[in-house]
Amino acid sequence: MPMVTLWLLPALACYALSAALFVFDRLSGRTKATGYAVAILGAGVVLHAFDLTARALQAGNIPVANFAQALSFLAWLTALAGLLMIVRLKLGVIGAFVAPAVTLALGAASLTMSSGHVILPAPLRSVWLPIHVTLAILGYTMFVLAASVSIAYLAYESRLKSKRAIGPANEGAPSLEKLDRINYRLLGWGFIMLSLAIVSGAIWADARWGHFWSWEPIESWSLAIWVLYAGLLESRLTIGWRGKRAAALTLVLFSLLVGSFVGVNLIFPGKHGGSFG
């Protein structure tokens, strides 16, 4: 279906251009290109939505039949949520992380994306598919954004500690307090989504196979990551691990998440059928 790929490459081009502009602004310490970068990112989101819609119509379900499609869906949700955060919360600074990440994800997805008819494996044809997968991907989206906010936090934090925090580059920069609060909220929402994804997956598994849990690699990893995020949130509430420590831990957990997301899905596909949980 050539119509499907018609949207994908322009969307990818928009993401790449937007990423280049965001990164240029970070490096030059100005915000001249940010307005254009945001608009182009928005155009990418729209084009990408056309691609996803076309694939969804073709599949008769949300387009997550294989790893590439799921990755593309994650990239889109991240771009959309990142765009909302940049505009609503005036966080242009995270664009330099979000846009390249989205470009990378969609670039990787498009390399393996087939333009032909993708048949959804029979066991996955269920109303639970969109619920379970959308929740999981939303959770991952929150974690990607939390990581981007954490990177911004660490960058500004080090500037403040090393006393370089005044100048044109810092005018209009978000405060540490704001970044820390947003990070906390994103982690909270991500954790809720991940919890619901695990629960919905278990219910689905019980309905389909008669047992809640089968200790597949992706399941074990997800559970481990769930525990770690729970610990991260708990440490903030009890001992007050906030600020720099919270940002650093968010990044550590995020790299573990990327490891499980990419590694486990490619190396030990299991029942999740080359997709992920």
């Binding site: 500004y156 403040l160 500690k161 006393k163 925090a165 005044i166 100048g167 044109p168 810092n170 005018e171 920069a173 978000p174 405060s175 540490l176 307090e177 704001k178 609060r181 001992i239 007050g240 691990w241 906030r242 600020g243 720099k244 420590r245």
Partner: protein, 445 residues
Amino acid sequence: MDQTLFIVGINHRSAAVALRERLAFAEDEIAPALGRLRESSPAVLEAALISTCNRVEVVGVASDTARAADETLEFLAADRSVEQAAFADVVYRSVGRDAARHLFRVGASLDSMVVGEPQILGQLKTAYAQASEARTVGPILHRAFHKAFAVAKHVRQGTLIGHGAVSISSVAVALAGQIFDTLKDKTVMLMGAGKMAELTARQLNALGIESLLITSRTFDHAVALARELDGTAVPYDNYKPYLKMVDVLIGSVASTRPVLGPEDFESVLRERRYRPMFLIDMGVPRNFDERLNELQNVYLYDIDDLGALVKRSLGDRQREAEKAEQIVELELESFLKWLAGLDLTPTIKDIRYSVERLRDVELGRHRGWLAQLEPAVRERVELLTHGLTNKLLHRILSGLKHQDDNTPDAAFAAEVARRLLGAEPGSHGAAFDEDADDDDETGTD
């Protein structure tokens, strides 16, 4: 003819404040003073007076600028009762291009003590308004001031000259804004009685904070300041229990050793769950151990750190100022072109008006006779007179135009033509529009 701008004055670079304050004018003194200047100084054709903390300047228009400047200085000396010898050495004078450049640079805040400070533009606007009130503004000053306002706007928009905090206290306030999202729920504690520290506390307080704690060795001082700033005085020998509430701590206690070190903060930070703390050390010797900066979510800035940031902001502004100078030069060219053209423009307007008027008067005189003619014939007659005056005007104006525009010769020729044609200067009553372009009036139909 050949009117141009001149400036005489003193500023923060040329003269000390002791002299500046003696020559200064209060705002309501300016318009009457300009009236007196006009009376006493015949060579001064237009004038405005700029009087701020950093400068006392008269911007004027004259043909004989040297005489006008002398007269202005005599006026200043007499009016302010300061002997001229007291400021003769520090007065600067400039004329024409240099005077216009000076005015534009002043307006763009390039001549300010703190380059890029925003007040000067308002002060310049006030000076213009007062000169207008005193009726000492003519077409050239009108144009010059409006051009200066436009340059200032252009510089503000096109450069970062007004950016960055440029005083110790404003840097501290800006840093607080980088750490905290809002100060509304924050507690500030001021330790000691240093002036700079107090100023910083006042600035933070004015932005709206949750509470202000003040502690000082002299408890009475703390109480007095707390009363004034709606804060709370805390005894100096027992302030440490309050530290856990404090988000911004400003220190300026006289002490040879740091009064607070990492050991004082261990339990404090734990109790406040590592919410960020901003420590501003304005004491010399320093009040806070520098190792405090290494603590989790604690940001310590001493007076040198703040000073270095001020210096950096000033450096940034200086770089932006170079861009601003280019804008000034560009606008200066356009203004000077207009000024040079000005010698011809009103004269040409006068001539045109005078000839048109001649035709109207003649047609009016023969109105009765004309009315008896056939409409078609009457129209022919009117066309004939129109043709004649147009031909005449065309010859004169294109003759003038062939002269080199910017020379005194051209102005002289125009003036001769005006007199020969009996045109009264300014008789058409048209004011010069500030937006009128440089040479749009010198062309012929």
